[in-house]
């Protein structure tokens, strides 16, 4: 049964609906992530779930009961949050901040029992921040702060934990640590985790369900395997001048426009660095011959419109060699990225031999190529024609 579920939920501000017909749900112990561009309404959805915003329509149910009628205390016992608000408490130790999570359980004066103190320590341990207990909260780094805020939420012992962009401001190590802690929480304690993330690659790796938020309704809801199809991310984020690689989760900038000015002989990962440098200098290039399953191939296709490819696990053919020669002659120069020539790419070897016979200038790296172009007066620092 779905533990957390929204049906026909409409969210917005001041009675005006921004996003409607939100139907999402998840079992206990799963992670659901909202992705989508800035301003798409991820926060609005999360705030409506946590009742920080009044809903416009529909239902949000936890454990089969609509949360609308719950008292503030009931709600606090079930749902904990990590918000994007940057808090600045005065003279509070991390232990005291975390202890606020016990609010729904303590008496009218907030007296901490032994069990409450135990829960605080457990929560701190869970986020690997036990050594921060006595430290003043205002002295922490962003990464430490976020861990303490997560500990505070954990300390509240919720069934559902809602996090709004918990990885913002964090460096890569803290991002991974934080998401790992969430995964542990979900798997070991059976907490349902609902969050929004900007890192699509991390989202697809950690989530059990993903929701694409765009426009006035949700664009897609499903498992990461269902969501992460070719082109989905580009269209979700309106990515026209760039490319997102589903398989590697890597992001490339837009390809340089114009006729290729250099041909890159690459393969086996040797080409990627050269491609990215040429893109940085805004120099259009052609490249080949790459097997379609070569690890250089995704970046090559993202950054160049002139990639000579061979089908995966097939021999390279004469036609491909001719095509490559044609682009090479059009470009006028050649970079050999350093790919060793073996039996499956011996056609590339033939290409290099032909180039040598034709007294074609061959460079060993992108830098060498750029230097030569400068000396010949062909281009400026950013690759602009002189």
């Amino acid at each position: 049964m779905e533990y957390f579920k929204t049906e026909g939920l409409a969210v917005g501000y001041r009675g005006r609906s921004l996003i409607h017909d939100i139907n999402i749900g998840m079992e206990k112990g799963k992670i659901l992530t909202l992705i989508g561009p800035n301003g798409a309404g991820k926060s609005t959805i999360l705030k409506t779930i946590t009742r920080h915003l009044a809903r416009i329509g529909g239902t949000v149910a936890i454990g089969g009961k609509d949360i609308q009628g719950w008292s503030a205390k009931e709600m606090a016992g079930q749902v904990a949050v990590v918000l994007t608000d940057r808090i600045r408490p005065e003279l509070m130790t991390c232990g005291e901040v975390v202890a606020m999570g016990r609010y729904p359980y303590t008496n009218a004066m907030g007296k901490m029992t032994a069990a409450d103190k135990e829960a605080v320590l457990r929560a701190l341990q869970r986020v690997h921040a036990i050594e921060l207990e006595k430290q003043d909260f205002s002295t922490l780094s962003d990464g430490q702060r976020q861990r303490i805020m997560l500990a505070r939420a954990i300390c509240q012992e919720p069934q559902v934990i809602v996090l709004d962009e918990p990885t913002a401001y964090l460096d890569i190590r803290f991002k991974i640590e934080l998401l790992d802690i969430l995964r542990e929480m979900a798997h070991e304690e059976g907490t349902a985790v609902v969050m929004s993330l900007h890192e699509i690659d991390l989202a697809s790796k950690i989530s059990d369900y993903m929701v694409c938020v765009k426009g006035d309704t949700i664009a897609a809801f499903g498992t990461p395997e269902e969501i992460m199809k070719e082109g989905v991310i580009e269209s979700l984020y309106g990515l026209e001048k760039g490319n997102y690689n589903q398989l590697y989760g890597s992001v490339e900038f837009g390809r340089p426009e114009g006729e290729p000015r250099v041909f890159v002989v690459a393969g086996g990962g040797y080409g990627t660095e050269v491609y990215r440098l040429l893109q940085k200098w805004q120099i259009p290039f052609a490249t080949g011959i790459l097997h379609e399953n070569d690890i250089d191939c995704p970046v090559a296709s993202a950054l160049s419109g002139h990639v000579v490819t061979a089908p995966a696990f097939e021999e390279m053919t004469k036609e491909q060699l001719e095509k490559a020669l044609e682009w090479m002659q059009k470009a006028g120069t050649l970079i050999h990225a350093g790919t060793p020539i073996g039996s499956t790419n011996r056609v590339n070897g033939q290409l290099l031999e032909l180039a040598e016979e034709m007294r074609f200038p061959i460079y060993r790296s992108a830098g060498e190529w750029l230097e030569a172009q400068r000396q010949n007066g062909h281009c400026g620092a950013q690759g602009a024609e002189v």
């Binding site: 503030a72 600045r88 606020m100």
Partner: protein, 359 residues
């Protein structure tokens, strides 16, 4: 935890000693010197009869009267210095706690009872009473002045509360408060333009603030408002603590934010209105004292900070009043002059320190 408790105890001991010493000095010093031995004897007698009175339903009234009216010294002691000192202690504490509550509400360390325009509102109504009331009723009693100050304070508070329903940003609300203050000042100036010389002098005297002219009636009345107010504030410790994490977190912890905010501002306004009514506007106590208290305690746990803030406020005002009364005797300074002289530097230091640590 242990550290906090130790600091709390040390602070309490220091403050209690300061308070006791301040009480003795206050009674002892002045244009008429009263020997300490006499003071203790008289206070002891009066207290004894007062207590007996309570249990016997007033049977010892005559004896009490006799002790109080025995000499000039006893009259000065019981009807001038003691009520004045008590009033300074009660109202000083109330002012400090009111400041603490407002700083919690606005999450801004320079929010004080006077930033919201509460004192300006009080001054306006007092001005109207003095200037226009005098023309129709004749002599204005001090009770009428107190009532007007109270009314004026609450008027501004209701206006601010009304705005707080619509304005969601705290800094905007702070600006609204300041603007209401300006409007009230403008209206007061308007009244002054039509006022007689001695009314203006009266108003100016009142708006400097002073604990002089206190009587036991004032003391009892303000105690009835301020001490329950302090109790209420202390009972709000738990939500105040949660509110320090911001509204979003407070709400998710189960605080009814709307209700909490209304209670908080009503309570702080009631406290500061009471002070303004009896002693006129007194600046900087509300900002400086909570800050000094937190610095001494090295914590912001409201359950600890609120009572200690009250005590510090009482101590601060007793000494300020002592200075106001005796430093240039027989000329008496306005209490506001003294509190500003000591309070304003604290605020400056506080701002500089915040800048270096928080920015």
């Amino acid at each position: 935890m242990k550290q906090t408790r130790k600091r709390f105890l040390t602070t309490m001991v220091i403050l209690t000693v300061l308070l006791a010493w301040g009480l003795v000095l206050n009674i002892n010093l002045g244009s008429v010197h009263i020997p300490s031995g006499d003071i203790f004897r008289m206070v002891w007698d009066a207290a004894r009869y007062q207590v007996l009175n309570l249990f016997t339903g007033g049977a010892y009234g005559p004896q009490l009267e006799e002790v109080i009216g025995a000499s000039t010294q006893s009259k000065i002691l019981f009807s001038i210095r003691m009520p004045r000192m008590m009033l300074a202690a009660i109202l000083g504490g109330a002012l400090a706690v009111s400041g603490f509550l407002l700083q919690t509400f606005f999450r801004n360390p320079i929010a004080g009872p006077f930033v919201l325009g509460i004192s300006s509102g009080a001054k306006l109504i007092v001005g109207i009473t003095l200037v226009f009331g005098a023309q129709y009723i004749g002599k204005i009693s001090s009770a009428a002045l107190i009532a007007s100050a109270f009314f004026g304070s609450l008027l501004v508070v209701s206006a601010v509360l009304l705005f707080s329903q619509r304005v969601h940003s705290m800094s905007m609300l702070l600006v609204v408060g300041i603007m209401i203050g300006y409007i009230c000042s403008a209206a007061t100036d308007f009244c002054i333009a039509f006022a007689k010389e001695h009314d203006i002098a009266n108003l100016a005297g009142w708006s400097m603030g002073s604990f002089s002219g206190a009587n036991w009636g004032n003391v009892v009345f303000s105690a009835w408002i301020c001490l329950p107010g302090l109790g209420m504030a202390w009972l709000l410790s738990k939500p105040i603590g949660a509110y320090a994490l911001g509204e979003g977190y407070a709400q998710s912890l189960g605080v009814n934010v709307k209700l909490f905010r209304a209670v908080l501002i009503l309570l702080s306004s009631l406290l500061s209105a009471c002070v303004t009514a009896f002693a006129g506007p007194i600046s900087f106590v509300g900002i400086a004292v909570p800050h000094i208290t937190k610095t001494m305690l090295k914590t912001s746990r409201p359950a600890v900070v609120i009572p200690v803030t009250y005590l510090s406020g009482a101590v601060f005002c007793i000494y300020c009043d002592l200075i106001a009364r005796t430093f240039f005797s027989p000329t008496e300074l306005a209490i506001g002059t003294v509190t500003a002289a000591f309070g304003a530097p604290v605020v400056i230091v506080m701002m500089l320190k915040r800048r270096s640590t928080n920015m």
